[in-house]
């Protein structure tokens, strides 16, 4: 319990840090980007909306601490201003309409990469010097060396443009009615294949190598020798004795990997025009839409912190050593 509380406190501090960063950035940056934004879009906005945004982004004369308190209040009551590139939709509305797609894409890719990568790692460590161990790691490290977005471009070109196997843009075919019909789900699935595939390809190597290296250490433990001496089946020793104990670092990487996947998903979404938060973030950047940018950053951060907290709770379930201390 103390462990959980400590972690919770840490995540709150991390979240506070990102809010404060958000608060400070528009106020202390040279070149006054916020004024530039106002100059560009002033004629489209109502006077009171301009006033609200000025307060949010710090173009007002109140003392700093007063602005800070006002900013915090705004964030925790969910007032992140209106989006400028998709005027006059509130930022929260823009984000909530798109975060689902990122969760779908990132979540699918993360789960597939983690499961397959860990299994391959187990196999590679179990048969050191075997086919899996000698061929796959260098290959996967090489693939992992490519920038996310470049692999996405390559996949789009090869499977989308040349072979025409999968759709190359957006999350579902335009004009299709969203709903829980087989047609729609199949269509979403087909649109998901290429973006998810690229994220899986890039991230799978890290999972595999991490698991392989922990497994190698676990394999030299005495209880493995003991299990062998008892004459247990090799498959049982591999999965129930060795892999199970080597899993813990992977669980921790799962939380960390999430931030990585979110970043990868951002770039992948841009390539495939996938309507998630990453694609929106790029639009916000191009449209000098600072309120939306800040809102997206906070949302992504909150999601990553929350996921890490859930992983911590899981960790306590898995590792009794954490509980006893």
């Amino acid at each position: 319990m103390r462990f959980i509380l400590r972690r919770l406190g840490f995540y709150l501090i991390a979240f506070w840090a990102s809010i404060t960063l958000n608060f400070l950035l528009p106020r202390f940056m040279p070149g006054d980007p916020v004024s530039r934004m106002f100059a560009r879009s002033q004629d489209r906005m109502q006077p009171e909306q301009i006033e609200a945004l000025r307060k949010l982004l710090g173009v007002d004369d109140r003392p700093l601490w007063e602005q800070y308190i006002g900013y915090m209040t705004n964030i925790f009551t969910g007032q992140m201003g209106v989006s400028i590139s998709r005027f006059p939709t509130p930022v929260t509305e823009v984000i909530s309409s798109q975060i689902g797609w990122t969760l779908l894409l990132g979540g699918t890719a993360l789960v597939i990469a983690a499961v397959v990568g860990n299994l391959l790692g187990v196999l590679a460590a179990w048969r050191r010097g075997g086919a899996v161990d000698s061929a796959l790691p260098p290959l996967l490290v090489f693939i992992g060396s490519f920038p996310y977005f470049w692999l996405a471009m390559g996949a789009l070109y090869l499977f989308g443009v040349v072979l025409n196997w999968f759709p190359i843009r957006h999350a579902f075919t335009a004009g299709l009615q969203p709903g829980f019909t087989w047609e729609f789900i199949g269509d979403v699935g087909a649109h998901l294949v290429l973006p998810a595939l690229t994220i899986v390809l890039v991230s799978i190597g890290g999972w595999m190598l991490g698991m392989r290296n922990t497994m190698i250490a676990t394999n030299s433990e005495d209880y493995i020798t003991m299990a062998e001496a008892k004459g247990l089946r090799p498959g049982r020793i591999m999965l129930r004795y060795a892999a199970r104990n080597a899993m813990l670092p992977s669980v921790t990487s799962f939380g960390m990997g999430l931030g990585f996947v979110v970043g990868g998903a951002l770039l992948t979404e841009v390539v495939f025009a996938y309507p998630g938060v990453g694609y929106q973030l790029l639009n916000a950047v191009q449209g000098l839409d600072y309120p939306l940018m800040q809102g997206l950053f906070l949302t992504i951060t909150a999601a990553v912190l929350l996921a890490n907290f859930l992983v911590d709770i899981l960790y306590v379930r898995l590792d009794p050593r954490v509980r006893s201390n």
Binding site: A17, P26, G130, M153, S220, L267, F297
Partner: protein, 312 residues
Amino acid sequence: MTTAILKQPGTTAAKTPAARKPNRSFVHGILTNKKALTGMAVMFVFIALALLAPVLFPGDPSRITAMASMEPSAEHWLGTTAKGQDVLALTVHGSRSSLFVGLTVGFASTFIGILVGLASAYFGKFIDEALSLVTNVFLLLPGLPLLVILAAFLPPGLGTVILVLVVTGWAGSARVLRSQALSIRSKDFVAAAVVSGERAGRIMFREILPNMASIVMGTLLACVIYGIGAQAGLEFLGLGDASTVSWGNNLFWAGNEGALLTGSWWVFVPSGVCIALVAFALALINYAVDEVTNPRLRKIKTPKDTERSTSK
């Protein structure tokens, strides 16, 4: 006087066997390691190309000509872009900015990582708590979104790119270096140095740091890989310094000019392959450093392993 006498045996006795001997076998191990040699050869080629770019392809590589979107031919080995620029010239010139930013970011973030890690490990207590907290917060904040909002608010330019990449990149190295420094901090020769009254700076940089050289090296390589990849990502999003020729900017323009949809694969393939080759080469060197310094990962078969593989 007494401290001076105490100091001599304390430092020399600890240093000679601990630092010098493994270093020699380390260099030997690296130079006989296939992975390391491959990696270093690739890096050598790229650095040579970057240095020779103005000689090999004189003139401005981004000059717009009338020969647009041509396939690779004898005249343009890698074809031309939609604006008629020679792709090979763009790629070779691009290596300059990409390697420069990558190396600068790598060295800067490793340097910060060393400072934070050593200070954490040496001083401990409150300083360690505070520094670890900051490190962990930076590690946890999702990197690319943070990169994007930092770059969006700062005035565009090469300096911004480097600054932003260092801000988001130092935490990983700080954490790795701290844990290594902590284990060295608890060794006897450090305690001896503390007792003999050496200054904190000297203990951190002359006693602890030389003993974690291989980890520092690994961190540096990882940071350079991060720098090159993240710069490319930032530029691909249009947040880099648009006036320079770099691999990321090449890819940004390839995407913008619709190279994918028109089937001009030769426009986007070279820059991506270069990024991957450099990252792969550095990763190879990194794994080699790991293999040489961590006996468990070496490719020597222990009796146990052979026994298991024969029994199957």
